[in-house]
């Protein structure tokens, strides 16, 4: 579904991604881990289409299309979703209204019938349960006054409503206590499906105890330096990232997609 080839990206003249290669297939859950500043969040945002980042080299192929040439809203319509690391508050824009508008924009793009307010509310209520999100938050402005945990759950809730084909979760676990973490992980797990690919970007291994990945990649200094199965995450937990950084020179650049034919 997604193939990233030699992706280089910069912001404000600083190169952050220095040749990222990654292949993700439908049904798979990939985790991208790495130390602070390695480019994890940059990678997620480049996939979402954030214009503050400039791609200087490489390509991203999604469903056979050149993703980098598609505008952010079109990427959403094509089924790409990013759960933000720092979801912004948008006073004056109702959560329910915004999400319904988004869902209908995507449905219209796909030639599907739009959902009316009543049907949407029922859908929203049902999906809100997946992440234990208080229904009342639907009446509030987007993320306004939401606690950290509520903001993160709101991201997964939106994912549940929009049903993307490629979901990129940017440090969805950061700042959450263990209970909130479990709820978020639970919600994500419920979204797993053979038609959907999920990329979990995380700094901490802990989340991966709950969202068990099929593949783990380690991003250090803008490159994926090691790939493996879920055991790799546990290994990192023990040894930390330092070893990865030291071993960069000797590690193969192309990630090994474990178990791939």
């Amino acid at each position: 579904m997604l193939e990233i080839k030699n992706l280089h990206a910069e912001v404000d003249g600083h190169e952050i991604l220095k040749g990222v290669d990654l292949m993700v297939r439908a049904g798979e859950v990939h985790s991208i881990m790495g130390p602070n500043g390695s480019g994890k969040s940059t990678l997620a945002q480049v996939l979402a289409g954030r214009e503050t980042f400039t791609v200087t080299e490489g390509e991203v192929v999604y469903d056979g299309k050149n993703l980098l040439e598609i505008a952010p809203d079109e990427r959403a319509c094509e089924g790409v979703f990013m759960a933000f690391q720092y979801p912004v508050e948008i006073p004056g824009v109702g959560t329910s209204y915004f999400l319904r508008t988004a869902l209908n924009a995507i449905r219209k793009y796909r030639g599907q019938e739009e959902v009316d307010a009543v049907d949407f509310l029922n859908l929203a209520r049902e999906r809100a349960k997946l992440v234990d999100l208080d229904e009342r938050l639907l009446n509030r402005s987007v993320n306004e006054g939401f606690s950290g945990g509520e903001k993160k759950r709101n991201e997964i809730f939106q994912m549940a409503v929009l049903e993307p084909r490629l979901a990129v979760l940017d440090e969805t676990d950061s700042g959450l206590d263990i209970d909130a973490l479990k709820i978020v992980a639970d919600g994500v797990n419920k979204m797993r499906s053979p038609d959907r690919a999920i990329i979990v970007v995380t700094h901490y291994q802990r989340l991966l105890n709950y969202i068990v990945p099929d593949f783990v990649h380690v991003l250090v200094d803008g490159r994926i330096v090691k790939s493996g199965g879920k055991e790799l995450a546990l290994e990192l937990e023990e040894t930390g990232y330092a070893l990865m950084g030291e071993n960069t020179a000797g590690t193969n650049r192309r990630p090994v997609a474990v178990g791939a034919p």
Partner: protein
């Protein structure tokens, strides 16, 4: 201040004919007019050297030499009228066309006992005591050329009187329409609104154009909010883009009165809206809620002067502006807290959203505090559409235009939400949406 004395001659010389045509008026009114013209002759129109007019150039008004319009010959057709009225406003509607009362278009149906909504000229003719008691008592001519000019030429407007303890259902709509016959003319509407003790009412003042003529409206509305009264006032300006609209709302608040004025400046080429409440009794509450939308080359100047004359009063100013193209907006928020006005609680916020490179806003708070136990805060923001919020919405599938429109609407939303009168709020929501790039895709409401 020396004004444009040479240039305002036509306004001075035109008074002779006007005065002669009104020889039958009572002497108290003639005196008000004479004093007004005398003062205006002395002051002249303000120039850019006048601190209160620093950013607003009224020389075009002086140059244009507007004249008084003749009584309309034909009646305004229903279709055009419908575009100007506020559906569902209930209550009563008093309509003025091109500076003349239009009884046929007004609906002053069944009003509760004692409530009066009377055209100014009829009031004068019938010797209405209430008018004489209040007209000209609050809006001072001494330093204000526009108020002085209005005092000289006032000939159209309404007296709205709510007796003691009457709670009025349905709002009163004072509708001033400028048609295609208004080209080159000026009107000086003067309204007097008196809400007696314990009364409650909502009054809407609209200025609407059916064409795009060049005309000059100089309105003064004097309001007396009686003790413990609750009065909501709405000012809606939808004038032609080539017109000049100067208005003054002078409010006298008595003890424990609760006064709110909402203003929505949407139309007009050059608009200056002065709002001057004087909190002249203990325990008053005053809320000034304003929204201004500029595009093209519109110029809108909001001038507030909130006077805390007595202790224990609260005042709030929430003004929001959305400026596009080459619009130029001004906000001056002056608060005077007099020496004995202890325990004053005053707050002023002005927020501006600039949508283009050439959009401009000049915002200036001015706090003059003479008491020593008060709470006074002011804040102003000037910003553009939040890039993070825009991206967030786009990442969920909303197009650039749809996301932008939603954020612009959200910005104005706060101001609209404060407007409790549903017909006004709904009409403004509609007007706002129609001015956004993707009006169609915003399927309101959820």
């Amino acid at each position: 201040m020396v004004g444009l004395i040479e240039k305002q001659n036509s306004y001075v010389s035109g008074f002779d004919g006007f005065r002669a045509a009104r020889a039958g008026e009572p002497s108290w009114l003639r005196t008000l007019r004479e004093e007004g013209m005398d003062r205006f002759s002395h002051l002249g129109f303000p120039t850019l050297d006048d601190e209160d007019w620093r950013f607003t150039n009224v020389e075009p008004i002086a140059q244009a030499s507007f004249r008084l319009g003749a009584r309309p010959v034909r009646s305004l057709d229903r279709q055009r009228l419908e575009r100007c009225t506020l559906p569902g406003v209930g209550g009563a509607e008093i309509v003025f066309v091109d500076g003349w009362f239009a009884p046929a278009l007004s609906s002053l149906g069944t009003l509760p006992r004692g409530v009066k909504i009377v055209d100014l000229t009829d009031c004068v003719r019938s010797g209405e005591g209430i008018l004489r008691a209040h007209l000209g008592r609050y809006a001072a001519i001494s330093k204000d050329a526009f108020i002085a000019l209005n005092a000289a030429y006032m000939a159209v407007g309404a007296l709205v009187y709510i007796p003691r303890a009457v709670v009025l259902e349905g709002a009163i709509h004072m509708l001033f329409i400028s048609t295609t016959d208004s080209a080159g003319t000026m009107t000086h509407p003067r309204n007097v609104i008196v809400a007696e003790e314990n009364s409650q009412a909502a009054v809407v003042e609209s200025y609407v154009a059916t064409g795009d003529e060049e005309y000059f409206t100089n309105a003064v509305t004097e309001v007396v909010a009686g003790e413990n009264s609750v009065l909501d006032h709405y000012m809606i300006v939808r004038d032609s883009l080539r017109s000049f609209n100067v208005s003054t709302l002078r409010v006298e608040q008595q003890r424990n009165s609760n006064f709110t004025s909402h203003s929505a400046l949407l139309g007009g080429g050059l608009v200056r809206n002065n709002v001057h409440p004087v909190l002249n009794g203990e325990g008053c509450q005053s809320l000034l809620n304003g929204l201004y939308l500029l595009s093209g080359r519109q110029h809108m100047d909001n001038f507030m002067l909130v006077e805390h004359a007595q202790p224990h009063c609260d005042s709030r100013q929430f003004y929001k502006g959305i400026i596009d193209d080459e619009g130029r907006a001004v906000f001056s928020g002056r608060i005077i807290v007099h020496k004995n006005a202890q325990k004053t609680d005053a707050k002023q916020t002005n927020m501006n959203l600039l949508l283009s490179d050439k959009a401009q806003i000049d915002t200036k708070p001015q706090l003059e505090i003479y008491a020593d136990d008060v709470k006074c805060t002011h804040g102003a923001t000037i910003g553009q559409i939040d890039a993070d919020a825009l991206f967030y919405l786009r990442s969920r599938g909303l197009s650039q235009e749809a996301a932008r429109s939603l954020l612009i609407y959200a910005f104005a939303g706060e101001s609209l939400e404060r407007m409790k009168l549903e017909p006004v709020r709904k009409e403004l929501e509609k007007l706002l949406v129609s001015r956004l790039p993707t009006a169609a895709s915003l399927g309101r409401h959820s």
